[in-house]
Amino acid sequence: MSYPGIDTYSMLDSTLHRFDPRAKLITFTILIFSFAFIAEIVVALLAVIFSLTLIFISRIPLHFVYRSLKFPALFIFTIIVVMAFTVQGMPLVEIWYISVTMEGLEIGSLIFLRAIASLILAFLMLATSRFDEIIKAMYSLKIPNIMVQMISFSYRYIFVLLEELFTMKRAMYTRGFKMKLNQYSLNVLGNMIGMLLVKSYDRGERVYRSMISRGYTGNPRLFTDFRMVMTDYLLSTVLLATALSVHFFPLIMSK
């Protein structure tokens, strides 16, 4: 069973791994939002290079990065293709009625680069810290209780229920079921999903009762000892400066 565990390499030691989780959460989020709205293609390219540099700093094995980002990146790449063919403008290549336009290629590439830069950052943020540290950081940043707890519980149960789903699927395939696109398959699949929901509901009730009986009130008890040190401030400053400069540099340059 291979789980999509993003924190597989959170035990490594690097500048990014040692970065205070609270500061990491804030600066990376700001950086993601900043990179997502870059206006120029050259700056977007620099942003991607910046993100790639961060990967090297984090010392996360490249095969893990590749495995995690392959499909998301491919999905974003389809946007370039669609945009290249559909946006009106000066045609570069023309085959019958279909044409690839310069404008479409430009907008498509800009979107692709912005998305990749943000994607790598979102990946790095969680890949370089243990999930429980992120949760603790979210509590200490005063994000509403309900939200943080739903995120952490859901995360936990995704893996439990994945296991359940695989068991059910294995049972179905052992009995000779083949997934096709027809009414029969959808019926079987629907019943299986229904069963999964019923099981999950019962499990939820059990978890609820056991947590209530252990005195769960919805308020977390935290023992955290986050402390910002010099390097944390330094790294935060660098990241925030980058977030600002990708928007200000083009303005200064154009004047």
């Binding site: 997502a36 946007i79 859901s154 978890v207």
Partner: protein
């Protein structure tokens, strides 16, 4: 159905977040009136995880495959709080599995969440009128996807005219999904009505 980072313009992203935060506050408030939501967090989370896992199932379709979103079903089962559930699901998807975008969580949540709430109301109103749960499930499931696709097209077009082509491609890609989700939701709702009717917003017949 995920819009990635970097596609939409800043005003659209901002509007998405405002709408989503508003809906989260409203749905949590309205659910609070009926039950103590804080104590129900564990069971809501388990259901959120269940729907997340369901969306990982792939159904082969021609050369590619589609995965069900079942946002109509989530709405029917969880009620208005489904919006929060899907918001959490999208956060997990963006950060832990790198699907969809981070900046677009607000917009994406609105795209799937608003149809879910409407599907819930449609289902409970229709059931009172005595329509069978199979038909209702089919209609609600298909409707939720159709509306989500329509909202997606509107969001893309509101960002810029150059997205017309992308919007058309996205809309066409959703057409088969409407039928698949409709059938699937119909089957699941029928199953739940037989096995565990308390999961549905219906009165149990004695």
């Amino acid at each position: 159905m995920h819009i990635s980072d970097g596609v939409l313009s800043a005003p659209v992203i901002a509007a998405g977040w405002i709408v989503t935060l508003l809906f989260i506050v409203l749905t949590i408030r309205s659910t609070m009136k009926k039950i103590d939501i804080v104590e129900q967090i564990p069971s809501f989370s388990v259901m959120t995880a269940a729907f997340f896992v369901v969306s990982l199932i792939h159904i082969p379709m021609g050369p590619t495959s589609v995965h069900p979103m079942l946002n109509g079903l989530i709405g029917i089962v969880l009620g208005p709080i489904a919006y929060v559930s899907m918001f959490v699901g999208l956060i997990l998807q963006a950060f832990l599995f790198q699907h969809g975008g981070v900046t677009t969580i607000g917009v994406n949540a609105a795209l799937v969440g608003i149809p879910a709430i409407i599907a819930y109301n449609l289902f409970s109103k229709g059931y009172e009128r005595g329509i069978s749960e199979k038909t209702l499930g089919f209609v609600c499931g298909g409707f939720a996807i159709a509306l989500a696709a329509l909202l997606l097209v509107l969001v893309l077009l509101s960002t810029g005219q150059e997205f017309l082509g992308l919007a058309q491609v996205a809309a066409v890609a959703h057409l088969p999904l409407i039928v698949i989700e409709g059938i699937l939701t119909g089957v699941i709702v029928t199953y739940l009505a037989k096995v565990k009717p308390e999961l549905l917003p219906i009165k149990i017949k004695k």
